[in-house]
Amino acid sequence: MLSRTAENLFWLARYVERAEYLARTIDATLRVTALPAAYVGKTNEWDSALLTAGVGPSFYDHYEEANERNVVEYLSFSDANPASIKNCIEAARLNSRSVRTALTSEMWDTINSAWIELQAVWNKGPANREELAKFLRFVQETSLRFDGSAYRTMLRNDAYWFSRLGVHLERADNTARILDVKYHMLLPEEEHVGGPLDYYQWTSILRSVSATTAYHWVYRETLKPWLIADLLILNDTLPRSLASCYSNLVRNLDQIGVAYGRQGASQRHARGIRNRLEHSHMDDIFQHGVHEFIQEFIADNSRLGEIITKQYLI
């Protein structure tokens, strides 16, 4: 397939995934901030939402204060934020238009309908919290529909694999970021963990990766920071964990390698990261430092994006 088509599919999937992640982040933050201060402490949750979205510094070019109104606006509707939900959906639609021939009609319909709804219904942004909740649901449903229609209707060929690469690379980045920020905020040093205060904070991490129920099924335990880290980093059965993302990345890259009859740098690099995740234990990660571990992962992950681009997309 054309390199440009592969590139568009890859980014299209990333934009949709990112839009959903932002919607989840806002949703989780709203829940935490709705609790009395006694339960959640004095940290500014909206600041941390900005950090997990990776737009901390640019936000303050446009706003004074990180409060609900400003942050929700910046993350969801702002034109000034190139990675706002709105801009993600618009970029996804533009990409879809450029590669319509590579999309199934169901996928196109999902993106195009979302774009039409965005313009018709959400043009001015949600008027109140209820509307906002509706909007966030709409974004998540769009992503689910897109994923579902890709899964159910696409031929299993390179077009599908490149789009999956986008999903998993973006997802790995998102999970890593949220874990990093929250861990950093909640566990600055060797501080004592536990008590009602942290409980809700930890729940919010799980919520933002839709893993609250999963946690209980896997561990049958009350919330424990190291178990949450274990789930999100090493547990291959959780679709948003780093390990699961990398199982998928390695598999999709292998499929491409087989179809094209040759392997390259991206296959090697992805396998390297996957092996490291497979052979890691939470104890070692803690000893090494969770923050350091995740920072390294984020850098490796984004390097994989660069290598894929060089090998296939240009």
Partner: protein, 472 residues
């Protein structure tokens, strides 16, 4: 102006046979139901994303072409005649182009003045002596046809460069079949869905000698911001070929390759929807970012087929148009089956003075204009506009032709006030491959939605209709 010939009702109330069943159906169908289906059709178009862009119109970057649900119908007899005429016309166009870029018999026979060719900006000296596979220049032609009476088909314009609109022909049919299965059941409408297959086989049949047995065809688009982008992606999809932009292509050793995830892959035939001027910045406009440096050199080496060929503009130029009946006779020694609209060439002093005296009754067109822009419709224009045009004509007479204001035939159309006659034309698409010429029965019917308007162009408020050719 006299009452126009109506495709359904003729010149009076005599219902024409092809419309009998439709007329009965219309009487049975409540107006509400029709309106409901119309809205449904619009929704479908928007969801599928069948839009076009209007340049310089920032507010409505993507617009829908209004779709009218009342079909335009032709009998098999009418179509047979039209088809014969179209094939004759396109054959003559191809022979004319070969002659102009090779022996130039037609110039030596003094049928067409030389300066009309050589001083014409759409004439491409690069094509002199260049052979194209099977001598086919115009692989895809869109011939605009109008009628003023039941007996004649008249060519309004030959489109021999990059005619568009065929996606509407195909999508209109899809949507009509979805919305009106009952109406289809009552007619025997010739299908149009094989157009993509015919197009692909025509394109493959003209692959260069150096191509493999399974030639690779690609469709080249200027990109997502082009007004016909939807059509480009639609066709690439239906043909199962790559939709490429200039930046996806690269020329090496006079061969054309596309950049793919598996490395470079050779391309043999390019169905290009990019104008000549933008194809190759080394040969044509150096500022073109849409083109492929070196493409023309690969073309000259015979390693790539461009469809349509470079330089076909000389055949559909409005100044050449008036010579088409002579062109048909010269190459085929046959009488033209399709008529031409009477045309005054303003470059000829006699014609010019007639035109200047009768501006208020005539349609004046720029020789190189298209899309309904830059033309004067005398009867509909204000005095001031006419005077402004008079000045332009005097300053540069060779830039214009004039034609009588024709009462284009009308067809019943949904309007705010119920069904009413609106003027229509028809663009059938003629495909020419190495072995034969094909025309999928039908074409794109365009309709001027404003009462009394004669301009059917989509950029000027025109709409489209499904076109039905009935089987015997």
């Amino acid at each position: 102006m006299a009452v126009a010939f109506d495709e359904m009702n003729g010149l009076g109330e005599d219902l024409r046979p092809a419309y009998q069943e439709l007329s009965r159906w219309l009487k049975e169908t409540p107006p509400d139901a029709l309106e409901y289906r119309r809205q449904e059709a619009e929704l479908l178009f928007r969801r599928i994303g069948i839009t076009f862009a209007v340049y310089g119109d920032s507010e409505a970057q993507e617009r829908l072409i209004p779709f009218d649900v009342i079909p335009r119908i032709m009998s098999a007899t009418e179509w047979t005649l039209l088809e014969k005429g179209l094939k004759q016309r396109v054959l003559a166009l191809n022979m004319f182009l070969k002659d102009i870029y090779h022996g130039r018999d037609i110039l030596r026979a003094n049928i067409i003045p030389e300066d009309l060719i050589f001083q014409n900006p759409v004439f491409r000296p690069e094509m002199n002596g260049q052979d194209v596979p099977h001598d086919i220049y115009v692989h895809i032609a869109g011939i605009d046809i109008i009628r003023t009476d039941p007996d004649n088909f008249i060519v309004l314009e030959d489109n021999a460069r990059t005619p568009s609109g065929v996606s509407y022909m195909l999508e209109n049919r899809e949507i009509m079949m979805r919305l009106f299965p009952d109406l289809f059941a009552r007619h025997r409408v010739a299908p149009v869905e094989r157009y993509p297959d015919e197009l692909l086989s025509a394109l493959r049949s003209v692959a260069p000698h150096s191509a493999s047995a399974e030639p690779t065809v690609a469709l080249m688009t200027p990109g997502v911001y082009n007004s016909a982008y939807y059509e480009h992606s639609f066709l690439a999809d239906k043909l199962g070929i790559e939709l490429v932009e200039g930046r996806d292509l690269i020329v090496k050793n006079d061969e054309v390759f596309m950049r793919t995830t598996e490395g470079l892959k050779r391309v043999d035939v390019i169905y290009r929807r990019v104008d000549d001027d933008f194809l190759d910045p080394l040969t044509f406009r150096p500022d073109s970012a849409l083109g492929v440096p070196g493409l023309m050199s690969a073309y000259a080496a015979g390693n790539i087929t461009l469809a349509n060929a470079v330089g076909t503009g000389i055949a559909d130029d409005k100044a050449i148009y008036s010579y088409m009946p002579d062109i048909v006779k010269f190459y085929l020694s046959e009488e033209p089956i399709l008529k031409n609209v009477q045309t005054w060439r303003c470059r000829e002093p006699q014609d010019l003075s007639y035109v200047l005296d009768n501006l208020a009754d005539l349609v004046v067109k720029e020789v190189h204009g298209s899309g309904g822009y830059g033309m004067l419709i005398g009867p509909a224009a204000t005095k001031a506009t006419i005077e402004a045009f008079r000045d332009k004509l005097k300053r540069e007479p060779e830039g214009f032709i004039a034609q009588p204001t024709l009462a284009l035939s009308t067809c019943p159309t949904c309007t705010d006030k119920g069904l009413a006659p609106r003027h229509v034309d028809l663009r059938p698409f003629v495909l020419t491959g190495s072995s034969h010429t094909t025309i999928v029965p039908g074409g794109l019917t365009r309709v001027a939605l404003k009462e009394g308007s004669l301009v059917v162009n989509s950029s000027q408020g025109g709409g489209t209709k499904d076109t039905w050719i009935l089987s015997e």
